[in-house]
Subunit: 197 residues, 2 copies
DNA sequence: CGTTTGTAGTTAGCCTCCTAACTATATCCG
DNA sequence: CGGATATAGTTAGGAGGCTAACTACAAACG
């Protein structure tokens, strides 16, 4: 639900009209942009509703998934392959989930309060903590995940397999390109005209 | 930035492995789902960074766009066509932006504090307020929008026109279907197979 | 005409995100 | 060895989401 976007997307003729006043407005790009955000938001909202029923926000779910991965490996043969061991410390979790360490502190706080997670001091480096799932969290995941998987499958069910492949590849083109414009990929924007007023 | 999602998407073989343990896990659906959210998040983040430079969050931007539309019409010929007059009251704005009235109160509070918006009582119905953009907001939009349009165009630039059409149509299939699973579209689910377990 | 019902906006309290600054510990290096 | 630098985690304060409950007004209806 966090995206918050115009519920009704503008009609294409409105975009064309806007392009007359703003030469920088690319109507088809704008349309893709808005549809991407709108659809992402809707899909996100449907998936989140299920988690909310279990008192789990998306952020908390991400943390549980990151920590649960190794617990999961416990069940699987040790030869299960390249699924890496998964993060343990708040800093690693923050990095993997794409939030700040401060945010992760808050998430772990509430997860710990709800008995889903335990903090343990690292014996080797006294700056560090180790975060572990409790048995309660493990049980919760076991009941929550099948629903979550069914919801994902249902959301994507209108697409055939070839359509799915196409969609992923188109999204990937955008994602790859967007990453280069991103905070990390902060190339100096070079060519941009001095505009901006 | 709000989506918060695993930065590194799981490899497909991990999804396949997961499907062995969870029969409900549809690997290709899962892959589409994750790519959609991840790409939406990235694109959203890039676009938001520009707004943030002007001290405008996405929520505030939505409000400004909704209110600015009519101001925009002022410049355009009255015959401009089917671009409706745009919302004016907090309740209408909340509905159009897809947030609660309480949230809209907060957004208008900060916008008013920053001098971008004015509240005026409705003379006919003393429960209602009318929200208007200030001249300052109008100026801000004029300087902010061209950048915003350029960023959208850049984000989508890796796709050709036919690819854009395809992408929008695939996204639309998902969006239409998702809406039927949604809170508002709470049709009694009737025809839906009894599945869902 | 007065009571009930509904609607607009706000308030209060919670959660999750952020940035900036702080504390404690580890490490590097002169 | 000892100071500068870097890192882990937290804290403080702010914004923007939410729900639930409240106030004020309008409308409906018996």
């Amino acid at each position: 639900m966090p995206l918050l976007l115009l519920k009704e997307l503008p009609r294409y003729e409105c975009l064309l009209a806007g392009a007359k006043e703003f030469p920088d407005l690319d109507p088809s790009a704008c349309e893709v942009f808005l549809h991407l955000l709108r659809t992402g938001d809707e899909v996100f909202g449907v998936a989140e509703r299920n988690l909310t029923d279990h008192n789990i926000s998306h952020g908390r779910f991400s943390v549980l998934m990151l920590l649960w991965n190794p617990a999961h490996r416990r069940v699987m043969p040790a030869s299960a392959g390249p699924c890496v061991p998964g993060p343990r410390t708040p800093a690693e979790l923050a990095e993997a989930a794409g939030v700040t360490r401060a945010t992760m502190t808050g998430l772990i706080d509430t997860l710990e309060r709800d008995g889903l997670v335990r903090r343990e001091p690292d014996p080797d480096d006294r700056r560090m903590m180790s975060v572990r799932l409790t048995a309660k969290a493990d049980t919760l995941m076991q009941t929550m995940l099948p629903d979550h998987f069914r919801i994902m499958a249902r959301l994507i069910s209108p697409l055939s397999e070839p359509e799915r492949t196409t969609l992923v590849s188109l999204l990937n083109k955008i994602l790859q390109h967007a990453s280069t414009l991103s905070p990390a990929g902060a190339l100096p924007v070079e060519i941009q005209e001095p505009a901006l007023r």
